[in-house]
């Protein structure tokens, strides 16, 4: 039973880190619906590098680097060119989906390296995830840097007039978020489930997006949500632990996705919606043009 929970927490780590990345850039006003694409790049490149060099360290570094790079591309389209954020995000997703299918195909199959050592069943990344959450919350609420990031997401023109370089702040957030997403993809492909196949993430990036909305941009709620989802996911893979022989295992696989939809609907109830509206960074998704 503990093994089940440990695996759940390991799965949740990936949600945590990817969603944390998106949370940071959303606080800065940037909406990236293409999280899945960034994660695919991170996972695929990390997998390829680790497989060819045999080094986990290099693999993770590659994942983080490519994540930052892809996010930089996204930032360029969104911040400098001022394009529609949803369209750009979709673009990153399809780019990721398409290109990684081609690049990764020759490496289809297991990683073939010894698993990363765990601490009583928990991946070391779980603890890294917790630290990142606490660190992010502290930076956002207690430091000047955090204030600048939040201001840029609430009202960029006020921030600009107060002396903050809005674009610089946004680029910073976007690149940071990309590195986190790339890392998350890397954790999936190198640690959680070290087997590569086309579109191996199966929609996790979109679940992470839903998680950010659900968290109302609070890292602690995000953590709770991720743990919940990690557990749901593990459950869907091992239904025999809870309700053996009740449904076909294929039906169980649909559970996390169905629950995501249910959660989204619950979020539109009055209680949630007003709090959500109040917590939302006002300038989220809106392009900013300097006068």
């Amino acid at each position: 039973m503990w093994e089940f929970f440990a695996r759940s927490l390991n799965a949740s780590t990936i949600f945590t880190i990817a969603a944390l990345g998106e949370l940071i850039e959303q606080r800065a006003g940037i909406l990236n619906v293409g999280i899945e694409g960034v994660m695919l790049f991170g996972g695929t490149l990390g997998f390829i590098v680790a497989k060819t060099t045999g080094s986990f360290l290099l693999g993770f570094l590659a994942a983080i680097a490519i994540g930052g790079l892809i996010a930089l591309l996204y930032g360029f389209f969104t911040i400098t060119l001022g394009g529609n954020q949803v369209v750009n995000g979709m673009g990153i997703w399809i780019l990721g989906f398409g290109l990684t299918a081609y690049i990764g195909y020759p490496y289809t199959g297991p990683l073939g390296l010894e698993r990363i050592p765990e601490i009583s069943g928990l991946s070391p990344f779980f603890f890294i995830g917790i630290i990142l959450i606490i660190l992010t919350q502290w930076i956002l609420t207690k430091t000047n840097l955090g204030l600048k990031i939040r201001s840029v997401g609430e009202n960029p023109s006020v921030a600009e007039v107060s002396g903050i370089n809005v674009n610089k702040m946004r680029y910073l957030s976007v690149i940071t978020s990309g590195m986190l997403m790339g890392l998350a993809g890397g954790i999936y492909a190198l640690d959680y489930n070290p087997v590569w196949s086309i579109n191996f993430l199966l929609g996790w990036g979109f679940i992470a997006l839903a998680l950010v909305f659900f968290s109302m941009w609070n890292p602690y709620i995000l953590l709770a949500g991720s743990v919940l989802f990690g557990t749901l996911w593990q459950l869907s893979l091992n239904p025999q632990l809870v309700l053996p022989n009740l449904f076909s295992r294929y039906i169980w696989r649909t559970v996390p996705f169905t629950i995501t939809i249910v959660v989204l609907v619950l979020m539109s109830t009055k209680w949630f919606a007003t709090r959500w509206g109040a917590a939302k960074p006002e300038a989220l998704g809106l392009p900013y043009e300097k006068e």
């Binding site: 389209f77 369209v87 979709m90 399809i94 081609y102 929609g203 294929y250 649909t254 989204l264």
Partner: protein, 370 residues
């Protein structure tokens, strides 16, 4: 920015003419094709030869042309499924799930008529085929209605909901055709039962009647959006939900309507591929790949600027590239997935070209300083 004796400036555009938009789209396609030719170079193949082989196979061979056209019909239908909600400003990336649902609907009707068993040989095509189509439309429309309803009633994010439904429908199909599911085929594991010849779709040269419906749909949709009251309401809602509300347009009915229509069309795409193409006529083991293919509908919709008529040649082009690309993979020893790579590059090129809708580059000769 200064270049030589000229100053280069960016100026906002007031209006984008039809021609300008078409030019931008065509340029995007050409650039994407250019970037993808790197793949050819990697394999030591001259890109021009590579593309020539692709187009030769796709459009001139007896085997390749029907393949191309059938794929193009599929893509075209998925494009419509994307365009209709897009006109309302909503993203339907759930064509995959909707088409899976439609497929289940169509095969469900066939199953109900006993197509899986021995009486399958005696089915009346005049009765069963229309019902299969209706089954596909209903199921696709139902699955489409979910994000539409949720958006209209609760303003739920349709991107996440449709994506989730894609996965849900994917596993639902797996349930139906694998491991003893009701639609499992007699032969190998993991694929659906084959349709009896009695209910094969009417076809010519390997291309089913669905091509006529797809083309008709193009004109119908074009007419819908240019001349009708409903089309006006959809467009208005898409441009400004606040203004639409002021004009009395329902922010509940419109999302619901466009997603039902989109879902129905995607459902029909499922019927087309899995039930209507004579060579296929069953839910194949790799049905998931067709979910991936449906994403081409997104790109086609964006390149054609949401114009259903312009989507026809573009869908044809993509059908050719995909089938030709797959064929050429083996022949010229190029890695698998050239069509996936093209998908990705094309999308990002298009996204980049968005920029040119809003700005134009102005060259001004610098006046000599006084």
């Amino acid at each position: 920015m200064k270049l030589g004796g000229y100053e280069v400036k960016l100026e906002r555009k007031m209006k984008v003419t039809g021609w300008e938009a078409a030019m931008i789209s065509i340029l995007a396609i050409l650039i994407a094709l250019g970037v993808v030719s790197i793949i050819f170079l990697q394999a030591g193949v001259n890109p021009i030869t590579g593309y020539k082989e692709i187009f030769k196979f796709a459009f001139t061979t007896k085997y390749g042309l029907p393949l191309t056209i059938n794929s193009s019909i599929f893509i075209l239908l998925c494009t419509f499924a994307f365009i209709v909600p897009m006109k309302a400003g909503l993203w339907n990336i759930g064509m995959a799930g909707q088409l899976f649902a439609g497929t289940l609907g169509a095969f469900g009707v066939a199953y109900a008529f006993g197509a899986k068993g021995p009486q399958g040989a005696n089915l009346s095509s005049g009765l069963v085929i229309p019902l299969m189509v209706i089954g596909a439309l209903l199921c696709g429309g139902l699955v489409g209605a979910i994000p539409g309803f949720l958006k209209g009633k609760f303003n739920t994010n349709e991107i996440v909901v449709t994506m989730m439904l894609n996965s849900i429908a994917f596993w639902a199909v797996a349930f139906m055709i694998k491991e003893g599911g009701p639609f499992m085929g007699g032969g190998g594991e993991g694929e659906g039962f084959k349709l009896p010849e009695s209910i094969y779709a009417p076809q010519k040269f390997g291309i089913p009647f669905t091509i006529l419906i797809a083309l008709l749909l193009a004109f119908l949709l074009y007419f819908l959006f240019t001349k009708t009251k409903v089309g006006y309401q959809i467009k208005t809602f898409g441009l400004s939900p606040a203004a639409a509300k002021y004009a009395g347009i329902s922010s509940f009915k419109i999302p619901l309507l466009v997603f039902i229509i989109g879902g129905m069309i995607a459902g029909f795409a499922g019927y087309h591929y899995f039930a209507a193409i004579p060579r296929v006529a069953k839910i194949t083991m790799n049905y998931g790949d067709y979910g991936d293919l449906s994403f081409y509908g997104i790109i086609c919709g964006l390149i054609s600027q949401e114009n259903p008529l312009a989507a026809i040649p573009i869908a044809l082009l993509f059908g050719g590239l995909i089938n030709g690309g797959r064929n050429v993979q083996g022949k010229l020893n190029i890695g698998f997935g050239i069509d996936y790579a093209l998908l990705g590059v094309l999308m990002i090129t298009l996204v980049f070209f968005q920029f040119f809708y809003r700005y134009k580059i102005v060259w001004k000769k610098i006046e000599k300083e006084k």
